[in-house]
Symmetry: C2
Subunit: 177 residues, 2 copies
Amino acid sequence: MTRTPLADVACSIARATDLFGDAWTALIMRDVLTGVTRFDDLAHDLGISRKVLAARLSRLVEEGVLVRERYQERPPREHYRATPKGEELYPVLLALMEWGDRWYAGPAGPPARIRHLGCGLDTTPVSACAHCGEPLTVGNTTQLPGPGGRTGPGTRVLGPLLAAREDTPETGRPATV
Amino acid sequence: MTRTPLADVACSIARATDLFGDAWTALIMRDVLTGVTRFDDLAHDLGISRKVLAARLSRLVEEGVLVRERYQERPPREHYRATPKGEELYPVLLALMEWGDRWYAGPAGPPARIRHLGCGLDTTPVSACAHCGEPLTVGNTTQLPGPGGRTGPGTRVLGPLLAAREDTPETGRPATV
DNA sequence: ATTCTTAAGTTCCCTCAGGGAACTCGGCTA
DNA sequence: TAGCCGAGTTCCCTGAGGGAACTTAAGAAT
């Protein structure tokens, strides 16, 4: 898996994917955020190889997503907890879960519900505009180069087609978006 | 990578991750949704091995996330477009991007901006409750078993700790959530 | 009419990451 | 003092991914 190259790309999705784009990391974060925080519990719950689990956990600690903490002194035992950076991955998990629910839930319905304690209802998470609160979709958003974007050959930022709309009209190819 | 086992697990995150938990798939979807839809363009833009790109694309088509379509007749040329199922992965990408922006953007700022055409402003996507519109966080939500959840030994659904809160009080271990 | 080029993949070889299971090591506990 | 967690390491083996060359089909160039 090409790790380092991806992290260098000037795209936040690529940077996030470099860490999170791995079959296990999302599930580890799901577990840790829902209270499965010990090595053995994670290994059993996920069915992951202990070797790979150890590697993932130390990478996540290195990245500041998890912290390894002692939770009891005698005998000394450590577990893993999410940092704020780790907790902020929750929206990613919610989005993945929502998508999985919509497209893979059987006739019985989704395997889990998310209850919003604020309003007390079982909720479905939507990706909303921070300003007006409307749902964001492929159709009602456009991607523009940001301040931190590098320009130059081969360094796409995000959405050259849509960025191009700002200055010159596109070619004849159908616009997906 | 253990593919099939994960898809069987009664957890929508696991199901979604089985397809999406791969360093390349997220980036392919980003590209396709932003207008990079042809094989060679994808290969060059991503720097992905052509072999792996072919494998990913055919998997995505198989799953109904993309469709392979002829976009010109002479000479016959095909490209890939997102289906509704594919477009609905957009919130996942937004969440990944937002997280990457927050934690990996340099001093110059994020590499890209998302403009919401509805309100005309550059936006930051938030994961909100569909009922009340409030942001969903680890702290203000709880996970409960859903109708489609399997019960039995070894089949965690999502959040046994939080689910357990409904009936019996927890052990002495600190609750991460 | 032959050669060039482009698009869209395949094929081949090779390395390295992941799976599985056994081993380690410190520190209780019976 | 033998056993038993919890938390990893180590070992071997297979298979997925990288890289680069090859293929096929259909214009376009000369």
